[in-house]
């Protein structure tokens, strides 16, 4: 390998660092190698293997790959072994240096491309491919040897259900797309990929079913995704925050999931899925409010059970939002609403407590939030102790000390349990936070305050839109046909049409 003189080296470095010039592969192998060595200076995991393939003296073939991203078995068996074999054949003249011959007769990798631009070479090198430079040819061969260690497919931790598929997405985008393809075996499932993030160059895929999805929604999604200008996309939540309709709203407008069957179901309804490399959470757009209160469990059990469970969930959703406020409002302003014996126990319970109901509620709620946050980070051996039961024990101690009343402990515990019944985690967080202003309203204005707070929330929800679809559909604007899947889930033999709120092209399911 011949290195240039110092001046030319400086030129080369200067030349390489200005990426504006579109560089092409040079027929001189050494120039290509120098280029890459400058680019990947101080990268010890880029490995260069030189082989004498076609001539005895010179290293005329160079293999370059990045250790850790590649499958070494493929490189060993299918590339290096094959290239080395040529030296020991008699008819060496047959194997003239042409990329065609190398591609077709020597290297036995399945996925081979030929490139001329250096930028593509660098991109494919960083994706785990092996680059083969051959002296005298101004094209290089890129062989796909992707490998590397990835987390195996396990049960999704954030969404566990009783019955149904137990596969969850991993961090590798190829595996994720493969899982979705395995469920929808149809050529209409389109997978469009692009690279986002100026520094990280993350692979992002937009998936949809052609023929069902609405064209305008798809266009809008692509427009927004292409506008993203960020240095790195570390998780799908980065994209979620950037393409939301209403960034200031406490409610999420884009759903995310870790389960391929859920993605497939939503794709079949006319949604678009955005899959991000490095994140097991797939985004589903557009999303509506009711989606966050539904879980895959409802669809895999019989419809009657789904109905009962959904009723419980909706009731507890309302409780999670308003229970402490109702308790504060009734015990401070509207004592006439309680039955007499209950009022006597409330009065008795509160007689020993120095704080008014609002302060008590705030203390207990803040304790619970702190416990919840701490519970996420504690190591597993200690974490078992900090559970809801532990919180109740602390509550008992607080009651004996006379800081809070026992009824308050029950209210707070019920609210905590109620917030865990909500399947969508992002909406559970919003509800937890919205509880506090509602408590403030209840303490100052009683039931009137709660009504004002709830009406304000309702007005805000009515205004929200997700990619053109109103957030509260199908309840408002009312679509009677779509109510089949909102409050109850009618049996599958009765669901003949897709939900019309996403305006799919094909309405009938059968």
């Amino acid at each position: 390998m011949k290195l240039y003189g110092k001046l030319e080296k400086v030129n080369l470095i200067f030349w390489v660092t200005n990426m504006k010039i579109e560089e092409r592969v040079n027929s001189d192998v050494s120039i290509n190698i120098d280029y890459l060595k400058c680019k990947f200076s101080n990268c010890s995991d880029v490995i260069y293997r030189e082989i004498n393939v076609f001539s005895e003296e010179k290293h005329d073939t160079v293999l370059i790959w990045i250790d850790g991203l590649t499958d070494m078995n493929l490189i060993n068996d299918d590339i290096v072994k094959r290239l080395i074999k040529i030296r020991y054949t008699k008819d060496k003249q047959y194997f003239i240096q042409s990329e065609d011959k190398v591609q077709n007769n020597i290297v036995s990798i399945a996925d081979i491309k030929v490139h001329t631009k250096m930028s593509e070479v660098i991109d494919s090198l960083l994706s785990g491919n092996t680059i083969i430079f051959i002296d005298g040819l101004d094209e290089c061969i890129i062989a796909s040897t992707r490998g590397g260690q990835f987390r195996s497919i396990t049960e999704p931790k954030s969404e566990s259900i009783v019955r149904g598929p137990m596969q969850g997405f991993t961090e590798n985008i190829k595996i994720n797309v493969g899982l979705i393809r395995g469920i929808i075996k149809n050529s209409d499932l389109k997978v469009e990929s692009l690279k986002l993030g100026n520094v990280s160059k993350t692979d992002v895929t937009i998936t949809y079913i052609d023929g069902i999805v609405n064209e305008s929604i798809l266009k809008e999604v692509k427009k927004r995704v292409n506008k993203i200008n960020l240095d790195a996309i570390l998780d799908s939540s980065y994209i979620e925050e950037l393409i939301e309709d209403h960034p200031y709203s406490p409610f999420p407008q884009i759903a995310h999931t870790e389960r391929p069957d859920k993605v497939a179901a939503h794709l079949l309804e006319g949604r678009v899925a955005i899959i991000v490399d490095g994140s097991p959470f797939v985004l589903l757009v557009p999303s509506i409010f009711i989606q966050f209160l539904q879980s895959s469990d409802d669809y895999y059990e019989r419809y009657f059970m789904a109905f009962a469970v959904r009723m419980v969930r909706y009731l507890f959703f309302i409780l999670a939002l308003t229970f402490p406020s109702i308790y504060i409002a009734i015990t401070t302003y509207h004592q006439e609403m309680l039955p007499t014996t209950l009022l006597m126990s409330v009065a008795g319970a509160q007689s020993g407590v120095p704080f008014p109901a609002l302060i008590e509620a705030f203390i207990m709620e803040l304790m619970l939030e702190a416990l919840r946050e701490a519970g996420v980070r504690l190591p597993k051996t200690v974490g078992q102790a900090v559970s809801i039961v532990g919180a109740l024990v602390i509550g008992e101690a607080a009651v004996s000390a006379g800081i809070v009343s026992p009824l308050m402990v029950i209210v707070v515990a019920t609210t905590a349990i109620a917030s865990f019944t909500i399947p969508g985690f992002s909406i559970a967080i919003s509800v937890r936070l919205l509880r506090f202003p509602l408590m403030l309203f209840a303490a100052t204005l009683g039931f009137y305050g709660i009504m004002i707070g709830l009406i304000a929330l309702l007005i805000h929800l009515c205004k929200l839109e997700s990619f053109g679809i109103p957030y509260l559909s199908p309840l408002a604007p009312l679509e009677k046909a779509d109510l089949k899947d909102t409050v109850i889930r009618v049996p599958w033999w009765s669901m003949k049409k897709r939900p019309t709120i996403l305006k799919p092209k094909k309405i009938k399911r059968r």
Binding site: Y248, T331, T332, Y333, Q335, E336, T340, L343, M344, S345, V346, A347, G348, A349, Q350, S351, G352, V353, P356, A357, S400, G402, P406, P437, L440, F441, A443, T444, L445, G446, G449
Partner: protein, 385 residues
């Protein structure tokens, strides 16, 4: 956009702080009144006795001696008296849970129109509280215990609610009490409550029996338990009242009957304009059951027929004596006027002004039909004579 949000956040923060805790009543500052007694003192002032619940915290040992406390306050009228509570105690008197309102005899005699109007107008008082009148002082009633009940007022309310188990008193709630209290022609009823003293054990307990009649806001008269029972029959409410008869055909022994169902209709209302005479017929249909029988003869349909006719005649006598008493008091308790109004609304106006005179001359005939039911598996009596 940002301006809107900051404005919204400011409003959300400022408005609750501005109103503060206005109109807030902490539970520990309330005195929960469950019974109210209204008396008249010798000077002519009103004395209120409030039966208040003592709140016990779950940490303290529950003292079984008394769970209630009595607070009295005096004033020239009821408004004054209620305000004067704040001179004695720091707790706010909380009236929405009042279960029982007891009037003393003296004050009902002098007139309770203003008290009734006050209680009606005040939004704290509920229309489901029971109304009772004593023959002596209401404060004594509220001090006395009710059998098997920790909170006396809740006990009294329970007894009044069970009035149809004995049919010896009228179960009057505030909403029934004020229904006709402004009608000068009709008398309103209130249950009678009094104290029974057991001298051996030196214990005093409450008993509720009988009715007081109030007309034009003043006490007019009293009906004892038999007359009350008859009144309930006329109102189609005399269930579970029992009757004891002699065995038919002169046999020794007694017979006990219970009324299962009483239906009354006021029929054949005629008004003779010349004489100013109104005539009416009360038709009572009773279905009853034999509770006990100690007669000799075996049961058959004839036997039952004899019992039925005897029951009918007894009931007729009882109703007629009740009507006699109301005529004597000159009060229309059964509200014949509105029954007549349903039939002839036009002629009502003439009679309305002159109802008292018309009522004196009213001619009421009573007809009772009784049937004995549930005789399917009736057995002969097991007595041996």
């Amino acid at each position: 956009m940002k301006k809107n949000i900051s404005l919204l956040i400011m409003l959300v923060i400022i408005i609750p702080i501005m109103t503060g805790c206005w109109d807030q009543k902490g539970v520990d500052k309330l005195a929960i009144v469950i019974g109210l007694g209204i008396d008249q003192t010798d000077k002519g002032n009103i004395r209120l006795t409030a039966q208040v619940v003592k709140p016990t915290s779950s940490n303290e040992i529950i003292n079984t001696k008394s769970k209630i406390e009595l607070i009295t306050s005096e004033g020239t009228d009821i408004q004054q008296a209620i305000n004067n509570f704040s001179k004695i105690t720091s707790q706010i008197m909380f009236f929405p849970h009042v279960k029982v309102i007891v009037f003393g005899r003296k004050i009902v005699i002098s007139g309770i129109n203003d008290i009734v109007d006050y209680v009606n107008r005040n939004p704290s008082f509920r229309k489901t509280s029971c109304v009772l009148v004593t023959d002596k002082k209401a404060s004594e009633i509220l001090m006395t215990d009710v059998m098997l009940q920790e909170y006396p007022s809740i006990g009294i309310e329970g007894i009044v609610a069970m009035y149809d188990k004995t049919s010896q008193t009228v179960g009057v709630k505030w909403k029934d009490f004020i229904k006709n209290i402004d009608n000068i022609n009709i008398g309103t009823l209130a249950s009678k409550i009094y104290i029974v003293e057991n001298k051996e054990e030196k214990k005093k307990i409450i008993e509720i029996q009988g009715t007081f009649i109030i007309k034009k806001g003043k006490l007019i008269g009293e009906l004892d338990n038999k007359e009350t029972e008859a009144l309930l029959w006329v109102r189609s409410k005399g269930k579970n009242g029992s009757l004891t008869l002699n065995c038919p055909d002169g046999q020794p022994g007694k017979l006990g009957l219970t009324n299962n169902n009483v239906k009354t209709k006021l029929n054949k209302i005629t008004y003779d304009e010349k004489n100013g005479q109104m005539a009416m017929e009360i038709q009572v249909k009773v279905a009853s059951e034999i509770e006990k029988m100690a007669c000799e003869k075996s049961v058959n349909q004839k036997f039952f027929n004899k019992i039925e006719s005897e029951q009918a005649s007894k009931m007729k006598l009882q109703i007629e004596s009740m009507l006699e008493k109301t005529k004597m008091l000159n009060t229309d308790v059964i509200d014949f006027l509105s029954v007549y109004q349903n039939k002839n609304p036009r002629k009502m106006k003439e009679i309305k002004n002159n109802w008292e005179n018309t009522f004196k001359k009213i001619n009421i005939s009573v007809k009772v039909e009784s049937t004995i039911k549930n005789t399917g598996m009736s057995l002969d009596s097991k007595q041996n004579y």
